[in-house]
Symmetry: none
Subunit: 402 residues, 2 copies
Amino acid sequence: MHTKLIDNLVIKKATKIVFLVMDGLGGLPIKDGGPTELEAARTPNLDELAARSVCGLLDPIGYGITPGSGPAHFALFGYDPVENNCGRGLLTAAGVNFAMTEKDLFMRANFATMDKKGLITDRRAGRIDTDGNRRICQKLRENIRLLSGIEVFFETEKEHRTLVALRGDDLNESIEETDPQTTGRPALKPNALVPKAQKTAAVVEELIEKINAALADEPQANTMLLRGYAKYRTYPGLKDRFDLNALAIASYPMYRGIAKLLGMTLGDETISIEDEFAILEKYYQDYDFFFVHIKPTDSRGEDGKFDAKVAVIEKVDRMIPVISNLNPDVLVVTGDHSTPAALAAHSWHPVPVLLAAKTCRPDRVKTFGERDCIVGGLGRMPTTALMGVALAHAKRLAKFGA
Amino acid sequence: MHTKLIDNLVIKKATKIVFLVMDGLGGLPIKDGGPTELEAARTPNLDELAARSVCGLLDPIGYGITPGSGPAHFALFGYDPVENNCGRGLLTAAGVNFAMTEKDLFMRANFATMDKKGLITDRRAGRIDTDGNRRICQKLRENIRLLSGIEVFFETEKEHRTLVALRGDDLNESIEETDPQTTGRPALKPNALVPKAQKTAAVVEELIEKINAALADEPQANTMLLRGYAKYRTYPGLKDRFDLNALAIASYPMYRGIAKLLGMTLGDETISIEDEFAILEKYYQDYDFFFVHIKPTDSRGEDGKFDAKVAVIEKVDRMIPVISNLNPDVLVVTGDHSTPAALAAHSWHPVPVLLAAKTCRPDRVKTFGERDCIVGGLGRMPTTALMGVALAHAKRLAKFGA
């Protein structure tokens, strides 16, 4: 990869780039010889774009590798997804706007239900609502003090999900996650995975005991499962690397977290796809890079709902004129990874991409779909190369060498 | 390349993968505008597979590089072919099932004919038969003792080819091969290529003198040409790396050698293509990865026999239903490299590949041929990536990152 090379070639230019990311966009046929979700969707606006774009297929991490959403997004923004991989706790902390310090260790925690024998009966505590989560976090804040003097913070994320942060010296992230990943079993012990993590493991064990004591009278959320341990870490931002003033338009905390870690400004929290496009219009003059994140394509894929995923893609297609009217210098439409409804999970299949720009060399692709993109002018490309290609089309890269 | 990454993502799954490797499969037209061998062959079964597969073209080592069979096979099994390259002697030693030790230096030796002036008149000793080879090896064993106390072993491979192994301290493989690669010249001296190899060079020189003395009365095989020097070396096996219990179905010692070095079980020695498929059926329940090696595609290519290579491909096509009936989760059909009859040699041209699996995303390729595979969904891919892609389609890889 030449990511460093790109950084060194960046020049100032008053051009605008929009990345429209439909999470989990890539799909598979659900019946032999049938279309994928994107091929099945009626997408006149995306097809019209594809016809004047250069298209291709992207590999987020590498051939055959199924990406998590975190690393897949790092790749989209031009960051090596392996080198920059981090525990989900860090993304959560950034996503809830937690005031991080160098001494912090973050965890992504789920409230859960435990029976009298100590067996986990619901890993999501009946998906309690966000207000319930806030109330219980407050209760934990009032009741828990750790003997070691390590500080502990609880911040509501959404529904049953919470950020737990420890603050102290020499905390170590190499401890086992406690989520048993199934019901009918006790939570796992937060054992140290390396000798250096023994102190942290003891702190986490004390923390869990005190959480259980404080929540003993709760009907549903009477324990917490801890995972995604991550020490504080910073990344060079899009401004530093690519001289981009970036706005992130995303509703899910994790994607907001990634955007924040990479120095993007966070747009207003949104609920609907229509809201996201409205925010793009509202702030279009104020930034030069826009990350518009569409979550439901992935959610419907994860649910195994082919037709529902098709419907989300069609809904996004109807919003495309909002972007076209803004006339960005570069518009990229792609996904972070594939989430075929046929597999009801993320997958390793490469992700269709189109890049529309006055400066692009069009290919023969006339419709936006996986099979069409195979013969697109971008070919099959690592996702990490996409940002450089977008910058180039926005005339934001200087020539290399004389 | 993320080969190490793949290793770390491997999970257990009761799925089966078949690699059908037609050695030297890739070809060239013999006349302008004509088809390649694979395109000329009538292959209804492979075409039917291609239509429901994802296809592409593989580069075994790198753009423009013509591979030997050894590195090309390392690449097929997911091993970096440059980093893992070894002298052919090691492959021969493994192939003849020699009980190797850390002190061994292996050579691949040809019996040859030398005239009274010491000029090589036949580099293959008239391709003596395997029984003749065995008789002469026994004679060498009985007659040769080295002054240095270094032990020497002679093991018949096939026809004029023999494994010679030296066993002792500080042996070094950096010495010149003695095969002059042409007739009418004397054998070359086994000169040391680095100062550290001087002791070994002297041992090899003594060895050659004693071989010549012992074989002085042989009419054909009266000397030996030494090449493919290789010190003992081990590799992590397919079980360790990918949790695969692998069966190798191959008739040629070298391919059996590679398979053995990579921890595969060796199927019965076979002669015919039909036998190989019968072994696949026989042991199908006992393993989860099958390497089926078809040699004659390469041999006919090396001979420059276009039609004969076409006939081998058609013969293999007729056997495809044997595999289809077993219904493996992943079937890969490809070659290790190209051996176009038009060149009568290995070549650098990328190798057609198809991967059939329920989890694959089909492309628009309807027939299995070089020109069709160019627009396949795998695109143009390094051969080393193939194993990871096959594991992914067999659902044997976990997600990377949260």
